[in-house]
């Protein structure tokens, strides 16, 4: 298997989701609160992964903009769980060196008096490996 093929297989494995079940109905895209921020839309993740279009996937902003709110997972009629595909993509990127979306050095500037720990922890978990 090429490197690319291996990465795609890894995404499928980590997500535990079967992208072939997707029937391109668009309900995930219709439900996504972060739609406006996404370059690759939720319903497109399945086809990108099937085609093995990894380059575009790893460059995408979408993986970082996903809120992890599970609306797409709850409503998908085919149990494709697109949110899991998005998250698996994010992990593939984050696990690479230099792939993090948030660096510790950035944090002091962003801190405010009332910022809850929950925000920092969640952000660290989602924006880094």
């Amino acid at each position: 298997m090429t490197e690319l093929e291996k990465k795609i297989e890894l995404i499928k494995e980590i997500s535990g989701s079967d992208p072939y079940k997707c029937m391109r109905c668009g309900k995930c895209t219709a439900s996504c609160p972060a739609y406006s921020e996404m370059d690759i839309k939720p319903h497109q993740f399945a086809s990108y992964i099937i085609r093995g279009d990894l380059d575009e996937l790893v460059e995408s902003k979408a993986a970082w903009k996903c809120l992890g709110c599970f609306a797409c997972i709850e409503r998908c009629p085919r149990d494709v769980q697109p949110g899991k595909l998005v998250d698996a993509t994010r992990q593939i990127v984050a696990r690479q060196r230099g792939g993090d979306y948030l660096q510790p050095e950035e944090v002091p500037e962003l801190l405010t008096e009332d910022l809850p720990q929950q925000l920092l922890v969640s952000a660290f978990r989602r924006y880094r490996r």
Partner: protein, 666 residues
């Protein structure tokens, strides 16, 4: 010793490519009992069968082994061929060297070895075959149709017109089914009632048809040609012989004005009185009292309907009545309903009265419906200017708890119909349809849908709806995806219509169990063969008509109804049916009366009787098993369960099975 002929079929390359048929012939030629062995390209063909007949005559064969495809394909063919040549058809065995050999193996050497073993086993069995004789059972020339919708009505009419008696059992107070609730039907836009009610009247007046409405099938026993059915005629509380259908009772029932009993026929969009006819054209035009909600039955007060009935037809004392009728054939035409939408809260169906289902829309647009045919929002009775249709609600859904995996087939067409009818009446309405695919698989169907787009400018958007959001100003905001233009849109709507998935009517599983008719995980009744026998159940004597067998529209339903009728007529036209001679037999001298066999028999074919037995010179009365040969299907459960070996299966006796095993293990 038998004189057995063995024929090995090439089946073109199906068998010959993986099995060396000539070698098989060589190796079985010297098996005990074999006097003739040959191979041929296609044994089932006319030429192939000629060879068999010639061999039987020339070699005076007493038994045949055909090594070919599965007996499910051609056992009948070869038995008939043997009979033509004067050989008892039950002296024929089929060794399946195709589905069980050539089609599943790749190695020719292995496959050939296996084919030889299978042939040997069949030969060993035929050596012990006895010439069985088929029995005969009578046929009651009366058919039962369960369900009085368009499917049941059409089937009944076709059977009755052919001269046979047929009964329709319908659980609602009136026949007509789902179609009677519709407004217009695609693709012709005929008024549903206009084409249905004449048939309903015809059914009511036909001399060969008996209607049991407000009735249910309670018990079924028997077998093809001889079913005994208990029908429960639920108490209407109205004497049908006296009632003239004037409707005074419903008009005067106090619960009609002050009550809150939702009308099932109007899908809960308006209320009905406790004594009611479901709709004005009901057949029979006799009301029923809903005893669960009627004041008189709940508290003993009221009684207005009985007082004002001019024909004195109201009878509070009426009881349910059970009638038992004999039938030769039963047709299941139990129809459908739409799924429960509780699991689709994102569409706000339970929250907003302006989110409705397509059937509710049919009632709103129907001139006899709750709004007299005016399209209005159920919240404020204003006419909707912007309507959104959402397709595939609960269809094509992989999650069992939420929806159904199949496509409901009729929704794309009926939504196009709804859109065009609304636009026709009220051209200023904006209509948007959110779809995944548009499926139009019928004659003139795609042209119908294109008319909606090109002539009526209905806005079809490919993409699903994520959420329907009720707004403070009483409108709805529909959050959806436009996949082809790549947008997430928030569209204002005054009314949202959900094309909900269809499912077979609840209660069909109970009926299928009563009939021992196959039913699948989606509660559709299964056909004997999906392509070649679509209107027959695998259970002999049971036939399928309409949505009960699978999603379909009215043209298909009527076609299928006719097909089911023809099959029924074919059955009823016979005076006798041949029964399977491979039935169980009890050796009364060995039977110890333990009842094990009766307990395992799935067909209820075994009873125990006291019989006189001569044993060692003594006459005794013993309790032994008796097999009803007409009910017995030869499954062999009793034979394997019998602890004393008293029960044996003709055609598949214990000795025959062991001799097959011996031949395999040689």
């Amino acid at each position: 010793m038998q004189k057995i002929g063995v024929f090995v079929c090439h089946c073109g390359t199906n068998i010959a490519a993986t099995v060396d048929v000539k070698k098989v012939v060589e190796l079985v030629r010297y098996e005990p009992g074999v006097v003739f062995a040959d191979d041929y390209m296609y044994m089932c063909s006319e030429a192939g069968q000629e060879k068999i007949i010639e061999a039987i005559k020339e070699y005076k064969l007493t038994g045949l082994v055909i090594c070919s495809c599965s007996p499910r394909m051609h056992e009948k063919t070869f038995r008939a061929c043997a009979e033509k040549a004067g050989l008892n058809p039950y002296m024929v065995e089929v060794a399946n060297i195709r589905e069980q050999c050539s089609w599943i193996h790749k190695d020719k050497e292995e496959a050939t070895k296996k084919a030889v073993i299978l042939a040997r086993a069949a030969i060993a069995k035929v050596n012990l075959n006895t010439p069985l004789k088929e029995g005969e059972s009578p046929v009651t020339k009366r058919a039962l149709v369960i369900g009085g919708g368009i499917a049941g009505i059409q089937t009944a009419l076709d059977i009755a017109d052919a001269g046979y008696e047929v009964d329709i059992v319908e659980k609602e107070p009136s026949i007509g089914g789902r179609m009677s609730q519709f407004d217009k039907t695609f693709p012709t836009l005929d008024c549903a009632s206009c084409i249905l009610t004449p048939k309903m009247v015809e059914v009511n007046q036909h001399p060969n048809i008996t209607l049991y409405t407000y009735s249910e099938v309670e018990k079924v026993s028997g077998y093809v040609g001889n079913f005994d059915v208990d029908i429960r005629k639920k108490a209407r509380s109205v004497d049908a012989d006296k009632c003239t259908g004037c409707g005074e009772c419903s008009a005067k029932c106090p619960l009609g004005k002050i009550g809150n009993i939702p009308s099932e026929f109007d899908r809960g969009l308006r209320n009905r009185p406790a004594i009611y006819m479901p709709f004005a054209q009901a057949v029979p035009a006799v009301p029923v009292i809903d005893r669960a909600n009627c004041t008189y039955f709940k508290t003993g007060k009221c009684g207005v309907c009985a007082k004002i009935c001019p024909s004195k037809a109201v009878d509070y004392e009426q009881q349910d009545e059970i009638v038992t009728v004999k039938y030769g054939a039963i047709v299941v035409a139990t129809g459908f309903d739409i799924i429960n939408l509780d699991k689709f809260g994102e569409y706000a169906y339970n929250e907003s009265p302006d989110v409705i289902t397509s059937i509710e829309l049919e009632r709103l647009m129907n001139a006899a419906g709750p709004t007299g045919g005016h399209l209005e929002r159920m919240s404020d009775h204003k006419q909707p200017k912007d309507i959104v249709f959402i397709q595939c609600v609960g269809s094509r859904c992989d999650s069992e708890e939420k929806g159904k995996p199949y496509c409901s087939k009729v929704c794309c067409m009926y939504t196009a119909k709804h859109a065009m009818l609304i636009k026709d009446h009220w051209p200023d309405t904006n209509i948007t349809v959110f779809y995944i695919d548009v499926r139009t698989p019928g004659k003139n169907f795609d042209e119908f849908y294109r008319r909606a787009v090109e002539q009526y400018h209905v806005n079809y958007i490919k993409g699903q709806v994520g959420k329907v959001k009720p707004q403070p100003d009483g409108t709805l905001l529909v959050q959806a995806a436009d996949l082809l233009d790549g947008k997430q849109i928030n569209m204002k709507a005054d009314m949202v219509v959900l094309a909900a998935a269809i499912e077979p009517n609840p209660g069909v599983r109970k009926i299928a169990t009563m009939l021992t008719a196959s039913i699948d995980n989606n509660n559709f009744l299964t056909e004997a063969h999906a392509k070649l026998r679509p209107v027959e159940s695998p259970t002999a004597g049971i036939f399928l008509s309409g949505m009960a067998q699978g999603p379909k529209d009215i043209p298909e339903t009527v076609s299928q109804a006719g097909a089911a009728a023809v099959k029924v007529i074919g059955l009823l036209a016979k005076d006798h049916l041949k029964t399977n001679p491979c039935t169980a037999q009890c050796d009364t001298l060995l039977c110890n009366g333990c009842s094990t066999c009766a307990n395992v028999c799935p067909y209820g074919a075994i009873t125990y009787d006291d019989v006189q037995v001569m044993d060692h010179g003594l006459r005794e009365t013993r309790r032994v098993a008796q097999v009803n040969l007409a009910l017995c299907q030869g499954c062999g459960a009793c034979t394997s369960a019998c602890p004393s070996g008293a029960m044996d299966l003709q055609g598949f006796s214990n000795r025959q099975i062991t001799t097959e095993v011996d031949a395999i293990c040689r």
